[in-house]
Amino acid sequence: MQSITNTSTRYGWAMIVLHWLIGIIFIGQFVLGFVMVRTASQRTSFELIQLHKSFGFLLLGLIVLRVAWRLGNAAPVLPASAGALERRTAPLAHFALYAFQVALPLSGWALVSVSTLEIPTMPFNLFVMPDLPLTESDAAEGFWASAHWYLAYAGIALVALHVAAALRHHFLLRDNVLARMITPSSGRE
């Protein structure tokens, strides 16, 4: 029987599922965002942007769930192989990763809310997502477009650092830091 909750040394499957789901969608959103603004066909571009908005709101929902779950479930401690520097920087990096997960979708939501194009948002054509109560203007649209763009590049750089750190643990330090984000806690550790 695998545990849904974290233990002091292992992750429960809820955290593992949210981690990979959010990670995959996050990277997919980066690629989609990059492609959608470089697509020659205005129709395809429009449709890709709507898809990007849909996945953005899905991501925001998953992230809210993940933050709530994380607040109620302490992360497992670092293994003994982790050095003093890592013990200080890893929590900061993880906090930054959470901050970007929250800030990126919110900045996208702000962008569509202030856009003078006034295009409605319907995640996966299921329901109308209201705009944030912000004043629309070309200047505000330019600001949030830049903010969303910079956050995306900084966020993906942070993800790259996170992936490099996980690979270092797995292949150089040969500890279970990566493995424990794949195999859930049995509940007995």
């Binding site: 205005q42 129709r43 429009f46 709507q50 006034e118 409605p120 054509n125 109308v128 209201p130």
Partner: protein
């Protein structure tokens, strides 16, 4: 369709209509050229969550021929240049002109050719015809109401709904309604 309306007016006159009693079919009969000044072709599309956006075509041409003896034989031809679309938002205009919607570069004209004009009231008529846009043609109906006949000038208020998906312009549904509401004022000058 305008012709149709005129016919209506003529009938109305026979029936001692108070407003258009002065308009007799024989007075209205003839050929009119749609005058850009005094005419407008506006449209609006509803949006999910309320509201919508409005636009207008700045350039168009056409003729209205009102048959003296038989209103049903009246004709309306209208050509709209989609390149002239305007919504007040340049980015939306560019999108509408692009191959996402009108593909104005390859399809520079939207055409309406009436096939029948049927009187529906004292000053109203139903104009049926064939609308061609982006190489696709479908029958469409518009309601025309006679707004006035003065000297050599005749005026109609024309409304109708068109489903844009049939013309390969379904982009943005269901965020934006498939139904395009047209609201036109067509002023014709005799000759």
């Amino acid at each position: 369709m305008h012709a149709r309306i005129l016919g209506l007016a003529a009938f109305a006159a026979c029936l001692v209509m108070p407003v258009y009693a002065a308009v007799a079919l024989s007075d209205a009969a003839g050929s009119y050229t749609i005058s850009p000044s005094g005419s407008s072709i506006r449209f609006s599309i509803g949006k999910a969550g309320g509201g919508g956006f409005d636009g207008a075509f700045g350039r168009f041409k056409g003729t209205i021929r009102i048959d003296n003896g038989d209103v049903g034989r009246s004709k309306v031809d209208l050509t709209i240049y989609p390149e002239s679309v305007g919504t007040g938002q340049g980015r939306i205009d560019a999108f509408l002109r692009s191959d996402a919607v009108f593909d104005a570069a390859n399809n520079p004209e939207i055409q309406f050719r009436s096939t029948s004009v049927t009187r529906t009231g004292d000053t109203t008529a139903l104009v049926t015809g064939r609308l061609t846009a982006r190489g696709k043609t479908f029958p469409e109906k518009f309601t025309a109401e006679l707004g006035g006949l003065k000297g050599g000038t005749i005026k109609f208020h024309v409304t109708g709904k068109v489903l844009r998906s049939r013309y390969g312009m379904d982009v943005g549904t269901p965020l934006y309604s498939n139904v395009v509401d047209f609201d036109m004022t067509l002023m014709g000058k005799r000759g």
